[in-house]
């Protein structure tokens, strides 16, 4: 099963607007999705990021379903 992830900032520059990663089942945990992303994009290990689901901040233990909007947020720098 594939999960789409939206990217921003340096992650978007490196990998594009979105990537798709394979997960075992839905619901999945964000941790599983992130691990799958890291496995396929090993260069990302140097970039810290937070996670948002359905336009709110989330934590790795949160669950996610196929149709949820998921985004990875590298370090912010507004202002």
């Amino acid at each position: 099963m594939m999960k789409e992830i939206h990217l921003f900032g340096i992650l978007k520059e490196q990998y594009g607007d979105t990537v798709r990663v394979e997960v075992s089942a839905f619901p999945s945990t964000l941790e599983e999705v992130v691990n799958a992303f890291r496995k396929n994009h090993s260069e990302v290990n140097d970039i810290p990021f937070l996670i948002a689901v359905n336009h709110f901040m989330a934590t790795p233990n949160d669950n996610i379903n196929e149709n949820d909007h998921m985004a990875l947020l590298p370090p912010v720098s507004g202002g």
């Binding site: 921003f8 990021f49 720098s77 507004g78």
Partner: protein, 138 residues
């Protein structure tokens, strides 16, 4: 509390503050963030700002609720540029209206601190030596 949070893509889009003023607000504190050059000894050519708009609005709502719990605030305004911004141009306007100046000053500073730590806006600096993503948090 009246709020107005916007991402704007041109320098003419900043707000006319007259609409937020009222006789109940004795203080209006404005922070104008301007693109600066040089930075770290290099000439800044421009900054490129990118935002995650839906999360921007949700985070700003969360910050506004927090600030309202800490200070007496009548209105809160935050407009941030996205896209290319040149040195000398405004990148951000943050404004707090309050009954008294102390709350307005403190709330405006906290608003900027919160913005820099959690609001999903990203900045890439293009300078005379190349470019880099500016990192503040996490």
């Amino acid at each position: 509390m009246k709020t107005d949070f916007q991402l704007i893509d041109n320098a003419k889009g900043f707000p006319d503050l007259e609409q937020f003023r009222s006789s109940t607000s004795g203080a209006e504190v404005v922070f104008n963030g301007i693109v600066r050059t040089p930075n770290k000894g290099l000439e800044v050519l421009y900054l490129e700002f990118e935002a995650y708009e839906a999360l921007f609005h949700n985070e700003m709502k969360r910050i506004a609720e927090f600030l309202e719990s800490q200070f007496q605030i009548n209105a809160l305004v935050l407009h941030h540029r996205i896209g290319r911004v040149l040195p000398g141009e405004l990148a951000i306007v943050a404004v707090v209206y309050s009954k008294h100046r102390k709350d307005a000053f403190q709330a405006c500073e906290m608003l900027m601190n919160e913005l820099k730590s959690s609001v999903p806006i990203w900045k890439k600096e293009f300078n005379s030596d190349g470019s880099f993503w500016v990192s503040q948090t996490p």
